[in-house]
């Protein structure tokens, strides 16, 4: 990256600096490591980025390998999407929060708006509110929305061609089927719908039940992608939940490598199903965590963008730029927030968000400061939105894209992280690929080990958490947790019972039996057949739980749980 003269000069200066250090701090080593364990020095020089090729490795925003940014002009033209997660209680309760955030200035692309809606955990697992296991969890951590009628309660009067509906749930197909059934009823053409499904069929590793057993889950995920590439080419069909790896304990290098390995598993499956990479890659997105180690996460992000572009082009032969772009939904760190002195979390989250903006993220969701207490109050949710707004409107940071490029340290660390990430990817390859790494417990145990180490370091004081193990106070300010309306469970159960009693039962059963046939076809390798059958089942008023349980006749549902109730 530098000419000979500069490098010679740098060498001379480095020796001088070394001399000063040895004289002033004899015998002391000020080197340290990043959170991932990458050795770092107290200062960087051109010598550290000597081997970096400007054209090949750095380049410019909007030009392959897109390390500096996906877009030639980014925030100056179009800021990131505000994507505060929200969802609780009944659909109409969630609508209140949607409206509150919209009123507070939450913005999407080009005047549109993205609602990052989170479902409750029964819906994650294909459990209807009237199932015995749902007790205690209905509408708690997300919205209870399980029928087309619920979608109407939540989305009525919104223009679905201008609204980005992001559906955060686990068992994606049944809820997506109801959403499409709802849109069909409203007369909105499917290819005009905008938004995002998670498609976490087999990737919900942070949940105790883990949803679908991996092979079947991958088939279901591929089916959904096949359906979208045929009928909804602009829909963002898949989100790789790398943030969850981070929350489980993965460090920056692992978050990137494990996330990419997941994406490769899904992309390989799509190719095997006969799809063109340029048809499905643009619908893939990554949910990435920016955590405490400020520079390491920025460098991870840049390395990730470059590595993904190279994989898309070299491994999959992609030609479309949108296939090579790493679309990132930043979800900043939650495990590093503390219950003690919770307002301090606003400061932590601001720094995480700042890192994400330096990294050129495309969408951002910040947890509430009350995250370690519960789901956010309206005040906490809006404060998190305000963090994004202050960075955008007041700091001037967004005037220049990738402002840290060219930093000796940042470029050097970016390269090291890419190299380290490739090593982990090779390890996964060598053990037989992602599915082996997942099923054998390799991926998960790496995360768990880090989580235990983290906790031990906090307990010993080696790792500082302000307010918890350092600068703690005798008496904490009391923070009232957000509570959903106590009537939610009762109403949700009543609604689902009424929904079932008002339908033509024979028609529902016929549709569910067709769904079994479609699932059997998918199991034999016929992709894109289950989604249409699930939509027909939704139109015949089969609930999300019924659709999910029907699919379980063919595909295996995660680890066994309740010995008393069999599904």
């Amino acid at each position: 990256m530098f000419d000979k003269k500069t490098l010679e000069e740098a060498k001379k200066l480095a020796q001088e600096w070394q001399g000063i250090c040895e004289k002033r701090y004899p015998g002391k080593d000020f080197g340290s490591t990043t959170n991932s364990g990458i050795p770092i020095k107290p200062v960087y020089t051109p010598l550290d980025s000597e081997h970096i090729d400007y054209e090949k490795d750095i380049g410019l925003p909007g030009i392959y390998p897109y390390m500096r940014d996906n877009y030639a002009i980014h925030y100056q033209f179009q800021p990131w999407i505000n994507q505060q997660t929200h969802g609780y209680g009944l659909p109409e309760h969630t609508r209140e929060r949607m409206d509150a955030l919209a009123k507070a200035g939450m913005k999407g692309y080009f005047g549109g708006r993205a609602y990052n809606l989170v479902w409750d955990l029964p819906s994650y697992a294909g459990i209807d509110p009237d199932d015995p296991e749902a007790i205690g969890y209905i509408g708690k951590d997300g919205v209870s929305c399980v029928t087309d009628e619920d979608f109407e309660r939540m989305l009525h009067d919104l223009d679905l061609t201008k609204t980005n509906v992001v559906m955060i749930n686990g068992d994606t197909l049944p809820i997506f089927a109801h959403f499409i059934a709802y849109a069909d009823q409203k007369g909105v053409p499917r290819n005009k719908l905008r938004g995002n499904t998670m498609n976490w069929q087999f990737t919900a590793w942070w949940l105790p039940s883990m949803l679908w057993e991996p092979e079947g889950g991958l088939k279901l995920a591929t089916d959904l992608i096949q359906f979208c590439s045929r009928e909804m080419p602009d829909w963002n069909h898949t989100n790789f939940e790398c943030h969850a790896f981070s929350e489980m304990g993965a460090n920056a290098v692992q978050q990137m490598a494990f996330g990419i390995a997941t994406a490769i598993a899904v992309a390989d499956s799509c190719v095997k199903a006969g799809m063109e990479p340029d048809a499905f890659m643009p619908g893939m997105g990554f949910q990435i965590a920016n955590c405490n180690d400020f520079f390491e996460y920025i460098c991870m992000f840049r390395a990730w963008r470059r590595l993904w572009a190279r994989i898309a082009r070299e491994k999959y032969g992609c030609k479309k730029t949108s296939s090579m772009h790493l679309r990132v939904h930043t979800h900043t760190s939650c495990y590093e927030l503390s219950k003690q002195q919770p307002l301090v979390n606003l400061i932590r989250t601001t720094l995480h968000a700042l890192g994400a903006v330096f990294s050129g993220t495309t969408a951002m969701e910040l947890p509430g400061y009350d995250e370690p207490i519960g789901i956010p109050t309206e005040e906490a949710a809006i404060l998190s939105l305000r963090i994004q707004q202050v960075i955008l409107e007041e700091t001037g940071i967004t005037k220049v894209t990738d402002p840290l490029a060219g930093s000796y340290y940042v470029e050097s660390l970016t390269n090291t992280i890419e190299e380290e990430g490739k090593k982990v990817l090779k390890q996964i390859d060598d053990m037989g690929g992602f599915m082996k790494a997942l099923k054998g417990g390799w991926l998960i145990s790496h995360c768990r080990e880090n989580a235990v180490r983290w906790r031990r370091q906090v307990d010993s004081g080696e790792r500082v958490v302000i307010g918890w193990n350092k600068f703690s106070v005798e008496k904490e300010e009391e923070v009232r947790p957000f509570r959903v309306d106590p009537e939610v469970a009762r109403v949700a159960i009543e609604r689902i019972k009424k929904y079932k009693s008002n339908r033509d039962q024979a028609k529902t059963e016929k549709a569910l039996s067709n769904l079994v046939s479609a699932a059997e076809r998918l199991d034999k390798g016929d992709y894109g057949v289950v989604m249409p059958a699930a939509i027909e089942a939704a139109k015949a008023k089969a609930t999300c739980g019924e659709i999910s349980k029907t699919l379980r006749k063919v595909f295996k549902w995660g680890p066994n749980y309740s010995p008393l109730t069999s599904y």
Partner: protein, 136 residues
């Protein structure tokens, strides 16, 4: 009894199938194991599952891990079932994402310990061991 000192304490750690993140529960399991406690981990659907597992495994302590609420609905049901099953010598402890304001109410219901975020885990381990000693 003299056998008491040789017997390892047994904890049933149970997490509901509809819970969110299990980082805390899984970390706790490792720490209990390293402290010489035998741990049985289950994912349950209804409190009946927990009672069945606790009896089969002869657990000294039941530790319920919560992330996504559900304790006010599931804990009283579990305690009642334990009473019906004559499990008076088994204690229930809850941990995880439990706001401070809910702690006293859970204790009033009959839970013997509430361990929210940032709790001292050695206190929990000591509690398990001393109860197991007393139980034999």
């Amino acid at each position: 009894m003299t056998m008491a000192s040789n017997r390892k304490a047994r904890v049933l750690v149970a997490k509901h199938m509809l819970e969110g993140h299990d980082r805390g529960g899984k970390t706790l399991i490792t720490m209990l194991r390293d402290a010489g406690v035998e741990v049985i981990y289950i994912i349950y659907g209804v409190p009946e599952d927990v009672v069945m597992a606790a009896k089969q495994e002869d657990a000294d302590v039941i530790g319920l891990s919560f992330f996504s609420g559900g304790y006010f609905e599931n804990v009283p049901r579990l305690l009642k079932l334990m009473e019906q099953n004559d499990m008076k010598d088994v204690i229930v402890v809850v941990g995880g994402l439990i706001p401070d304001v809910d702690g006293p109410e859970l204790l009033k219901m009959g839970v013997k310990g509430v361990f929210g975020p940032g709790s001292d885990l050695t206190r929990f381990i000591d509690m398990v061991k001393s109860h197991a000693q007393a139980r034999v």
